[in-house]
Symmetry: C2
Subunit: 392 residues, 2 copies
Amino acid sequence: MQNFEIQTPTKLVFGKNTQHQIGTLIKPFAKKVLLHYGGGSVKRSGLYDDTKKSLTAADIEFVELGGVVPNPRLSLVHEGIALCKKEGVDFVLAIGGGSAIDSAKAIAVGVKYDGDVWDIFDDKAQITAALPVAVILTIPAAGSEMSGNSVVTNEKLGRKYGMGSDLIRPVVSIVNPDYFTSLPKEQLGYGVADIISHIFERYFTNTVNCDITDGMCETILRTVMKNALLCAKDMSNYEAWAEVGLGGIIAHNNWLGIGRVQDWACHGMEHELSAFNDVAHGAGLAVLTPAWMKYVYKENINMFVQFAVNVMGVSQSFRDPDAIVLEGISRLEQFYKKIGLSLTLSELDIPESAFEDMAKKATGAFFGNEHGIGNFKKLMWQDVVEIYRLCK
Amino acid sequence: MQNFEIQTPTKLVFGKNTQHQIGTLIKPFAKKVLLHYGGGSVKRSGLYDDTKKSLTAADIEFVELGGVVPNPRLSLVHEGIALCKKEGVDFVLAIGGGSAIDSAKAIAVGVKYDGDVWDIFDDKAQITAALPVAVILTIPAAGSEMSGNSVVTNEKLGRKYGMGSDLIRPVVSIVNPDYFTSLPKEQLGYGVADIISHIFERYFTNTVNCDITDGMCETILRTVMKNALLCAKDMSNYEAWAEVGLGGIIAHNNWLGIGRVQDWACHGMEHELSAFNDVAHGAGLAVLTPAWMKYVYKENINMFVQFAVNVMGVSQSFRDPDAIVLEGISRLEQFYKKIGLSLTLSELDIPESAFEDMAKKATGAFFGNEHGIGNFKKLMWQDVVEIYRLCK
């Protein structure tokens, strides 16, 4: 086990009807709030009205900015920053999924930064301050409700970059799985693919002696997959969504990643798909993950045997480890299919002609600085092209 | 799954040589520190000197109070409170195990409370403020390094009571498993019995649909037990101690208890053993836990079948669930023996003549207010006597 530090100060409030507590919960931090959200779903579900009512009851002023889209855009972040500055906003409240939350975090940082907030995503500046952020979650997927991360798309440059700091961990997150039961069915697949990818990115490692975190990753993977299938059968199953939602939080608050080298190649490769063709993040991850597994598993086959046996329940003879691993990967592909996900890039309208540019962007080679991606196996741009080809 | 709230803001710094960071880590909170510890072991290990050096390098003043003993005493807490008030201390730093930490938390609360701090343990007053507390852990057991709890013994009254509040969660906890490798061997058993009891108290529940937390409890129980046996073979095994130490933190920071009704009967019954005869807390838990299991399992046998199969690895025919459960309990008893623990109250010098008074104290009947203990099965004083008898 490696040395590590972790601090997860977010107050998590989970369960039925918890949205009514938002005003009381953020009162100690907030005088004037930016209410930040996407489109009509928060209005149809009643959450928008419940939130305004709770803020008003707690005597908290607010202004609002809707219009967040999946793969949230830098232009709306700029608009939010300007609005907050003009209105003297001191707190950002996201209601929605990862996109609304990530956009809210970027606004919270931008209000406290003198230059263009994109400098921070582009590693040209550090986060030194941010407005406090809270969340009422409506889609379990990104894990942004308890993470210190934000991913935003610069639509002019066609780049999707992330930033991270403990300063942008939400101070309060309300998670009411009732909202998940009315999601469109494709969100189940997208969300679950993202959740299990957050675990895979931490799970697949060459660090040894990580029994506690290995075991936690494995049990949460099994539980999320089992309950995702229950949701697929009956989208109104509150208890199954509660397991998926809690799994999604722990998947990305980094308790599963402590003491071990993490990977993150699949997220890096996927961000290029989303930037190129506005692919849903989870849809891209479901295509890339099995291909990545096939490409890298021989690097440390025992880690993948452990995955196939402990997570995917493969129980055939251990005398042929390659067969065990490939059966595990095949079961993962079957799982993705069962929750409605595609398995090829052509289904996502990503042509082979785009592979080289995307691979070079993902690894830095496009910008003359090829740092590569991933730690389980370091991937350079030619590796990434090979992986894209495996899923064409 | 039940609605829940959780907030675990402690900054956890884990691994080799991390003790040298203490000054830097607490600098934002501390001008003048009470350094609180037990006996000579922190001096022999060099931790005492390392701590003083780090505080001095960070320009933090300190006074000190040693002499904490297992089942920490109210009289020393009173002494610490008086010292802090006299010296204008604004921060309490515990170096040691659960006893030093719990004593430090009680001092931190007492400095900010006008009456006798025992009022709070005795439920006559609430915690409304406390000095911030930090920890350098030397014994993995109590989980107090990341919990909001403290247990102190009023040696005049012969009572051992706990208090809880998020205000006493440490702001910083440093955990360096190197210190565990030089513990006396009996501390391995005491510590591990306490750790797995913290999980059992949360695990055994009648709440259904808790897949995520069920699975996390089970994997951490298996991992701690496996690694405890490695420590028993070779007390210098850093990696095994790191697993036990990390397991001990998660066992009690309450991520395993969210969304489920918890039990806590064994802790209640054990506190009376410690108060009666100064028994080591872990030693008492190891005696009581299997007896409690035998007494209560029929209340919800499926929960105990799950324990026997998923934690203790029992794989015999499911047609005889009682046999599965009893085999699971028997394996737990064997485990306790292997790490050096006793299985009877007579070995702990607790005579049968003491049972009735202890049972009445544990359940409140002694004080004319029989509230009972436990939630898996509510136990009244006669039940507790029966359980004590099962392990005489």
